[in-house]
């Protein structure tokens, strides 16, 4: 049995979904060009406006990509497809892995396209900067990929669209994807406790070359663990009931 074929078709399905592209790629790209374009010579949060906004819009789009991939489980559940799959030899692990691979593949497209857009607006980084930024973004997306699988089991097919849009917008806004959360008030503290904040900060750490502070790793790890525990619990409840 080869699960590669299964994963390949899952990828194909993902890339054929137009709404997915709009949410994960078209919106962030257009917003980047519209906002970073006129401000390309400005500074934001201590780094160049274009780098900040490029990472911000990548965070928003890539979050949408990985959340939506898992959340599509809701649509499959609504047509009972999960039951059909459970009477095939497909290992549960492969099913979820295919969802993660698809989400990350879409996120990779968003990352590459926005890098190119950033370069076209004058973003210049050393190779090590590009690499460390990419690595941190990919790591920072892990909790959101798990979040997608979680809400894919919690919500219905009808509510999943607004939930993806709303959740990504909220995480992006509070994480500073559209501009840093100012001041040192409660909101700023909350912001630093969100994995989306550290996604956005991947840009800054690429410029300074410092990488993430320990707090970032802790935040991403805690969110990942908590969401994974919840997702596993919801999945188990789901399979036990039917």
């Amino acid at each position: 049995m080869t699960t590669a074929v299964y994963t390949r078709y899952e990828l194909l399905r993902t890339f054929r979904n137009v709404r997915f592209f709009v949410l994960a790629l078209a919106f962030p790209l257009v917003m980047f060009l519209l906002i970073a374009g006129p401000n390309r010579n400005e500074q934001l949060d201590g780094i160049s406006f274009t780098v900040y906004y490029m990472t911000g819009m990548i965070s928003w789009g890539a979050m949408a990509a990985v959340i939506a991939s898992g959340a599509r489980i809701a649509a499959e559940r609504s047509v009972q497809w999960h039951r059909q799959l459970r009477v095939t030899p497909l290992p549960v692990r492969t099913y979820f892995r295919a969802k993660l691979v698809s989400g990350y593949a879409m996120a990779a497209v968003t990352i590459v396209v926005l890098y190119v857009a950033g370069i076209s607006l004058g973003v210049r980084l050393p190779m090590s900067g590009w690499l460390s930024m990419t690595a941190l973004i990919l790591i920072g997306l892990i909790p959101f990929a798990v979040l997608g699988i979680l809400i894919g089991h919690l919500l219905t097919a009808d509510s999943i669209g607004p939930a993806i849009g709303g959740l990504t917008a909220l995480f992006a806004l509070l994480g500073g994807a559209w501009g840093p959360v100012l001041g040192e008030g409660v909101l700023r503290t909350i912001s630093k406790g969100l994995p989306s904040y550290w996604l956005v900060q991947a840009g800054k750490s690429a410029v300074t070359g410092d990488g993430w502070p320990p707090l970032a790793w802790i935040v991403v790890a805690v969110w990942t663990v908590v969401l994974t525990v919840l997702a596993v619990r919801v999945y188990q409840r789901d399979t036990a009931r039917t």
Partner: protein, 312 residues
Amino acid sequence: MITVTSSPPSTGVEVVDVAKSYGAVQAVRGVDLSIAPGETVALLGPNGAGKSTTIDMMLGLTRPDRGHVELFGKSPSDAVRAGAVGVMLQSGALIRDLTVRELITMIGSLYPHALDVDEVLDLTGLHDMAGRRTQRLSGGQAQRARFAVALVSNPELLVLDEPTVGLDVEARQSFWSVMRAFAARGKTVMFATHYLEEADAYADRIVLMSGGRVVAAGPPTEIKARVGRHIIRATVTGVDVDILARLPGVVLADRHGDTVELQCTDSDAAVRTLLTTYPGARDIEIRGAGLEEAFLELTANSDQLAELEASR
């Protein structure tokens, strides 16, 4: 064609005393079922009889409250993992954004002995639609694609839960001919239906379920004799129903005004006698009794039995 059956492997499907309740509702109240390898068995019963719950437990989709299931000597999940089971569930649709061919290829790739995709497309009459996206199929086409998904696995055991719901007459016929061809390869088939005619025509054995129990099991001829009743409706004036109930072949008689309704085990004999004895009988109508009516009686009997056993 004559098929020589060498002594088949001893165990196929073994369902032993499985029961399942959902809250206060006892969906299945202790079902035993055994299917020999190569046998085609129909699970016949009205809606709510417990057929789907029994099938779900058989496949490991639902955990029984008690009892156990073995498929070819393995647990359901082991048999499923080994690719020995192909299933067409009762409800459900297909995932979108793939063509029919891609979907069948995707599922086939999970099985060790999958059928050739073109062969499956031919068998299910989907060749002309192979390039169509699943979300653009009509209801009947989608039903055929679901059958193709079950078939491509080339399983030892094919389970079909009310497979012909939503199919027109022609599609039904071609469906059953494919099913029969598949069974002729020595495969074990179990299908659920609430049509007696389907069970009669396509099964080696019928298991009759009602109220969460098996109320009868045997070859189609035997089951048909028990539930395949006919009802004669006729306008007959001035005759007492008790007398009509004693006509040959009649088991029950009922009167609504001038119209009488006779439940028959042998409607041919009944109608002959009716006409010779009461030439005034007119507006005669004969129809097959609904299964539900037959089941009601069988279930009533089995309930009385259960009460008797309980009171003992």
